[in-house]
Amino acid sequence: MPEMAFDFVNLGRASLIVAPFFAIYAIVMGPLGDRSGRHDWIASARNALYVVTALVMVATIALFYAFITKDYSVFYVYQNTRESQSLLYTWTAFWGGNAGSLLFWAAGLVIVSSIAVTTNWRTQYPLMPYVISVLMIIALFFLCLLVFVADPFERLDFVPPDGRGLNPLLRDPGMAIHPPLLLGGYMSMSIPYAFAMAALISGRLDAGWIRATRRWTLTAWGVLSMGLIFGSWWAYRVLGWGGYWGWDPVENVALVPWLAASAYVHSVIVTEKRDMLKVWTMVLVILSFSLSIFGTFIVRSGVVTSVHSFAQSSIGPWFFSFLGLILIVSFAILMARLPQLESRRKLDSLVSRESGFLFNNLIFMGIIFATIFGVLFPMISELVRGVQITVGPPYYNRVNGPLMLLLMALMGIGPLLPWRQATKKQLLRRFRWPMIALVTTAAVLSVTLRSFWPVLSFSICNFTLTTLLQEYAQGITARRKVTGEAWPLATVRLIGRSRRRYGGYLVHISIIFVAFGVIGSQFFNIEQGVTLSSGETATVGRYDLTYAGLTEGQTSQGAEVKSTLNVARNGRDWVDLHPGKIYMEGFEEQPVSNIAIRYGLVEDLYIVLTGWQEDSATFYVFVNPLVSWIWIGGLVLVIGGLISWWPEPKPQPVRSSRSLPSGLQPQGAGSGDD
């Protein structure tokens, strides 16, 4: 007998069915109110947005409730959890499948929409009708999917005794974090997009919308970055091939919105500071958002399969249509506004900060193009020649590798270029030390490493790092000179006073750290397969591994096999490592590796148990140099991102030190002719 009276699951489903009507109401009433000057209609549209938010939240809580009470009559719950699955992974299970992740998207979207609308209600009031409308159109799309295609509350007509459970690969802390972050980044891109569209539709094309959404863009970008880093970390810990990035389709489509957002974060600086590149910045907002939808589409539709796309369904055509609609409508509106977007200023010179940003954007576009082209090329090949092909890591490494290196170099060149135009003298002075660093590094490393690409890559890294250090050093010294503060104070205050700039530089430093890790592990890793019988020793790099047997056990998740290896480093006893395998209940056919990783600043030792016979076992042993720097880079990136995100202090009232700069001028003039 079906349960009677109050049922949380049915309430959730009802909320999802009602929500689209409110969304439609908001979509219509906002612009209508603006056109007819009815402020109460606009306010009503906003309230409808709040109602949609509340309804989606009810649905979200209802699904959580179903998970926590383990209501297996709900098909989605049955699919994604089971008795033996710890409560921790209920969270993971929530978006482990299609319907749940779409609900997660929708929930996140309405929450950020509510926040963005509420906080900008007064300051950006003229944009609001259209912001609400655009956001609700996006929400409507996801709500329709949830109602018509992927219903998270679908009921079975019987109650199974136990669920099927989450794919074992997903039961990892890394997996509990990274997909929500990626989805969070995707959906946050909706906010800048909605504001940009609102600016275009309403014709208020001043920098207001950019200022209103700067922090949102940075949030989306930062959250995406963290999603990517955590995703790599998960792959490294769980997949067992010794790597962290496989250029797999899902990773690629997660990367491209990040690249577009990165390009946008840079071009917007030029738009804000110099009132240029307005059209291009608009294009990048549209691109970032479309690529976010594209990312969700590729991951969720099963058009391409990969290690990460655990959900496949028939929502492909829906996404495809929506994506097409976004692109056509957005660009049509942009075209219509083109005359009003013309910049008053023109670029002055090839060697200037502006053109540095332009080349930066070009390279970003190149990487985006190469990556999407690689993802779609198998489809092109199948359509044109009927031949199925795989585009694997070699393509991406060879094409994107050099492009990324170019981007790294630009990262070091950009800050050295003055705005508008540069004199030869300025350039010589600014480039001196970074160039010396480049040449010295290249010379020294050529002796030790003797191979072209790694030496070039490391040298470029050091060139860029020197540029950034020089920027900090100059800033700190100038500040000390003016205020007479001590070093630490001057450093902190310098960063605190211009957070965007020095926070941004910190992000650049974090990218160099990540690059160190990538270069080290890409060119210098050791991978070796060894089969050892009991007591036998194998040598991998500077490690001697002695096999000391295998034990079987039982964990809460299922049966476990655990091996023991005595590891000596440089001939001296070091640690015991225990690579193993877990056979999770219900997934015995698909054992998960329990990889033994010893993290280190110079290199990681990474051992996977792949098989065993009576008295011997086979291991894959990896020595992965510098990989830890990727995770350190991730941490620094978050710190730098937060610094540049944090609202700048209000301009301070003029103090007595205000007169100092001009007071120093004579001194500066005296030694100016060197």
Partner: protein, 193 residues
């Protein structure tokens, strides 16, 4: 100039530290490279060498049922069988190319992680570089063009002085610039002169 020297030595010092670190790390990296290079020559340890070759070949092959993972490192049964197949063929004396061809015959070109560079596939390899190359050309050309126009008009000293963010007069550019930057950041606007 104290300030100028200080900032220079700060930069140089920090860079030297980084360089020292890099050199230290590079010694360890070079050791890895050596041990990688030495391995195929391990004639006495033919088992290990064979596993090595097997892994290398396997890493070039796509596991047909678990897309996104190579044959070498997939846990799936098919991948395990394919690894065994590679080992068997290696023991029978097959070359790398022969083994890859064997799998291509069975599963199609899709099994190769790096598509052969022939016919339509050439497009895959060339398009990105054409894209960026053309982009760079167009961008440089446009910028050169504007500069040429600019030169005709001739930039007057006045015009460059009107730049609010970074004054570029030649008195002592570095200090002037730094102070201006600092001032701008501290007070939200450039000092009025």
């Amino acid at each position: 100039m104290i300030s100028r020297n200080t900032s220079r030595w700060l930069t140089v010092g920090a860079t030297l530290i980084v360089l020292a670190g890099l050199v230290f790390v590079s010694l360890s990296l070079a050791q890895n490279a050596n041990s990688n290079a030495a391995r195929p020559a391990l004639e006495g340890d033919s088992d290990a060498a064979m596993t090595q070759t097997m892994l290398r070949i396997g890493d070039d092959l796509q596991c047909p049922i678990c897309e996104g993972q190579s044959v070498a490192y997939s846990n799936s049964r098919l991948a395990t069988e394919m690894r065994e197949q590679i080992t068997v063929q290696l023991q029978a004396g097959a070359t790398e190319a022969e083994i890859k061809q064997y799998f291509v015959d069975r599963y199609g070109v899709i099994v190769l992680r790096e598509p052969p560079r022939t016919g339509l596939n050439l497009l895959l390899w060339q398009m990105p570089f054409i894209f960026v190359g053309v982009g760079i050309l167009i961008l440089s050309w446009t910028l050169m063009q504007t500069r040429r126009n600019k030169e005709k008009v001739a930039v007057t000293a006045n015009e460059s002085a009107s730049l609010h963010s970074e004054p570029s007069d030649e008195v002592d550019p570095e200090i002037r610039e730094l102070l201006a930057q600092y001032d701008e950041e501290l007070f939200g606007s450039a000092p009025t002169k």
